[in-house]
């Protein structure tokens, strides 16, 4: 035994003795950097090459939209074409990296567009890392109809965004919202759906009845919303493709509202008011089986599933003021997570599962904030006269919400903000808009 141990020690010492010099062959100067800068990444995007004679205008539009998407994140800065030293004459032409390096471009996006006679458009692109002089990923090509050129552009931007930032994409997504028109005292409200940037608006309902709180299904093909067309709030499921709808099966004379799909797309959790008491229920949309989750005299509403479908965060005033609670998806004991001063409401679980967005009212101001699922690290991202109703982008990086301005002419509008609190921006909509709900990424 002693011999064996001795042999092991000998061999280990011999091995270490041999290896140590090789690892310390050249002792580097070791440094650590723990701070950096948050600055937009400068990119160059020459107008995509038009490979067919009729693709010039579309190449311009697609190039512009890709640049808009990237700039709109606040993470990218476009270098103006006037500063370019090199020009991209052909899609496959060698890249003159020193020329792009000289104008401090860190990323170079090149592309080409062609339109066939049958209305098919083909867009291909390449992304280059200028400072390393190499291509970042492989070139990609998208094919679609000329009507769908915006989606193609969003797809290109998504690829660029994901490759550079490491975040998931979100440009090729849609938002369902409540479009509002008319005077403040008599607003007409209808459901609308649009691209995430406010383009391609389509309305799903007329303005004959008040509609509230639309929510996308996990596959993005259905929308839950609350309508007052019967005089009482009632939940409907609307098929976006066919624009057909049906009401959820709830007891007559009750009020149902604040619906949201479970991640399985089959279960709906919602608030149901019966006998003056509001509790949370679930409903299987196929079997209409209804399950009661809470049973307290308090008002419990605004439920939202965790991404794994195991927990529900909701709003309740059981402690005397509206606060946030988490309970198992099957009901049971709830745990309060909001501990700060003020009133909390409309919690929404992030797609990543790590954060919960909420509305907070404190000292006469409204805020959109985020906190960890245990209530820690609460951060308020906005502050205004009225901010409410957050919804997450598909990648969990951006929050869209409603901001209403003060006064007789005040009107709601949609805003987006990065979860770091940066890049607050207004979403362009044709009319006043509220209650946004972000769809998953389109397929």
């Amino acid at each position: 035994m002693r011999q064996f141990i001795g042999a092991i020690l000998f061999a280990a010492s011999a091995t270490l003795g041999c290896i140590a010099p090789s690892t310390s062959m050249a002792q580097p100067l070791r440094l650590e950097i723990t701070d950096g800068v948050i600055e937009p990444l400068p990119f160059a995007l020459p107008t995509f090459i038009s490979e067919t004679s009729n693709a010039g205008e579309m190449a311009q539009q697609i190039s512009g939209l890709v640049a808009d998407d990237l700039r709109g994140t606040g993470l990218f800065r476009q270098i103006q074409p006037e500063a370019f030293i090199s020009q991209i004459s052909a899609f496959g032409a060698p890249v003159q990296y020193p020329d792009w390096r000289a104008i401090n471009a860190q990323a170079l996006i090149t592309g080409a567009v062609s339109v066939s006679g049958n209305g098919r458009v083909t867009v291909k692109f390449r992304l280059y890392d200028v400072f390393t002089g190499s291509e970042l990923g492989q070139g990609l090509q998208f094919v679609g109809t000329t009507d769908g050129w915006r989606r193609i552009a969003h797809k290109v931007a998504d690829e660029v965004y994901a490759r550079i930032t490491g975040e998931g994409p979100y440009f090729d997504s849609r938002v369902v919202f409540v479009g509002e028109t008319g005077p403040k005292e008599n607003r007409a409200k209808r459901l609308g759906i649009m691209d995430f940037d406010g383009a391609n608006v389509q309305y799903l309902t007329d303005s004959s009845a008040i509609v509230l709180a639309p929510r996308f299904s996990p596959d993005g093909e259905r929308v839950l919303y609350t309508s007052y067309e019967t005089g009482f709030p009632r939940i409907y499921v609307l098929d976006v493709g066919r624009v057909s709808r049906r009401a959820l099966d709830v007891p007559d004379g009750s009020m149902s509202f604040a619906p949201r799909f479970a991640p399985d797309g089959r279960t709906v959790v919602f608030s149901l008011t019966t006998g003056g008491n509001t509790d949370l229920y679930t409903l299987d949309v196929r079997t209409n089986a209804r399950t009661r989750l809470t049973s307290t005299p308090a008002i419990e509403t605004a439920p939202s599933y965790s991404p794994d479908g195991r927990s529900i965060v909701f709003e309740s005033d059981r402690s005397g003021s509206p606060q946030l609670y988490i309970m198992p998806a099957t009901g049971g004991e709830a745990r309060r997570i909001s501990t700060g001063a003020g009133r909390y409401g409309t919690p929404v679980w992030s797609p990543k599962g790590d954060l919960i967005a909420f509305t907070k009212q404190n000292r006469g101001r409204f805020h959109i904030g985020v906190m960890r699922t245990d209530g820690s690290e609460e951060r308020l991202l906005t502050a205004s006269f009225l901010d409410e109703g957050p919804t997450w982008s598909p990648n969990g990086r951006v929050i869209m919400f409603t901001r209403e301005t003060q006064g007789a002419n005040g009107a709601p509008a949609l805003y987006s903000v990065d979860i770091s609190g940066r890049n607050l921006a207004k979403v362009r909509t044709q009319t006043a808009a509220s209650d946004p709900s972000w769809s998953p990424l389109q397929r």
């Binding site: 290896i19 062959m25 100067l29």
Partner: protein, 370 residues
């Protein structure tokens, strides 16, 4: 890189070979001693503790007899080499059994100095040269410390030290008698005969027990830990030894690396290092996902004498994230390095050997989302 693998392979092969054929060349196991022990009765134990001889010698004494070497006849003590404790404070602590009147000086455990024995009257005892204040002096009230035995009572010729409990007066008389100094002899004798000897010997016979003030007033402070022996390093390196990383670098230099591998020349100062960190940090645009996931990577690269990073030398050493995230973080770090060094880093030219190879850990801990 491949050299390391080859050497490692040879080492492992050697290990396997040694395990297989090593026992062939090994010698027989060394003999080991068997020591018999016996259980004794309580009566035997009492007798043993009372030092009463047992009827039968205990077997446990046998090993002592075996181990103990036979006593050599004590040689006649040479007159000169016997170190006479001329300086009581320095020599008394090293005696096998300190005399009862010896001051509890434990400050210096030093080899006995080969002192010259003289018959001249010594000077007043002086404290040790190095101030042992924190070690010993603070423990004892110096004003009440018993005076040291005067040196003139030592014979001119070295003789064996007197028994520890010998009266000093006797020694004095004996030394005086043996001396050949005509001046000292009558004086000493007259002092002894005139009952002045006790007065002179008074400091000698006054022991700590009789001199109340000589006792330590409090416990002795433990001696200070001796300085850890430091391997000799270059003077320039010792200047920045306070910097932990540089110290570690120096330790690596002295421990493992051959001298030829260590950077030569003056090291980078803290300010120069911070300057380089700042140059790269200002160009490190951290991707959001790297911040949110706190991806930490380490990048190594070479720098040319023109102070620009050498393209192609950069290498991702390690990363804490997934492969994709590490690559994204690596791209940002690489970009920061090359952007910061595009016109050459601001580095001291005379320290090229120090910064020609740089390894940077990019840790976005300071950029957590707020």
């Amino acid at each position: 890189m491949r050299t390391g693998y080859i050497i490692s392979g040879v080492g492992h092969a050697g290990l396997i070979g040694y395990l297989l054929v090593g026992p062939i060349f090994s010698a027989d196991p060394p003999p080991f001693e068997d020591v018999e022990v016996s259980v004794i009765s309580s009566a035997e134990f009492d007798a043993l503790t009372n030092q009463t001889p047992l009827e039968t010698p205990a077997q446990i004494t046998a090993p002592e007899a075996v181990v103990a070497p036979p006593l050599e006849p004590t040689p006649e003590p040479a007159p000169q080499p016997v170190p006479e404790p001329v300086r009581p404070q320095a020599t008394e602590p090293v005696r096998p059994t300190p005399p009862p009147d010896a001051s509890p000086d434990v400050s210096q455990i030093a080899p006995l100095p080969q002192t010259d024995v003289t018959d001249e009257a010594p000077q007043e005892p002086t404290p040790p040269a190095p101030p042992p204040e924190p070690q010993v002096s603070a423990v004892i009230d110096a004003s009440k410390r018993p005076k040291a035995r005067p040196a003139p009572r030592i014979a001119p010729q070295a003789v064996a030290p007197p028994p520890l409990d010998a009266t000093i007066a006797d020694q004095t008389q004996e030394a005086v008698v043996e001396t050949n100094d005509p001046d000292a002899l009558p004086s000493t004798q007259s002092d002894a005969q005139q009952a002045t000897t006790p007065e002179e010997a008074a400091p000698e016979v006054v022991t700590e027990a009789e001199e109340a003030g000589g006792a330590p007033t409090r416990s002795i402070r433990p001696p200070a830990r001796p300085n850890r022996p430091v391997a000799p390093v270059e003077t320039a390196q010792s200047e920045v030894a306070s910097e932990a990383d540089t110290a570690a670098q120096a330790a690596e230099t002295t421990d493992a690396a051959p001298a030829s591998d260590a950077p030569v020349g003056p090291p980078m100062t803290q300010g120069e290092r911070q300057s380089l960190v700042g140059q790269i940090q200002n160009k490190w645009a951290v991707p959001p996902r790297v911040i949110s996931d706190q991806v930490v990577i380490t990048v190594r690269f070479a720098v040319g004498e023109d102070r620009r990073p050498i393209s192609g030398s950069e290498e991702l050493i390690s990363g804490s994230g997934s492969a994709d995230l590490n690559q994204i973080a690596y791209r940002a770090a690489r970009s920061a390095i090359f952007r910061a060094g595009a016109q050459g880093f601001d580095l001291p030219d005379d320290k090229y050997d120090q910064w020609k190879d740089i390894e940077i850990t990019f840790n976005p801990s300071g950029l957590r989302l707020k």
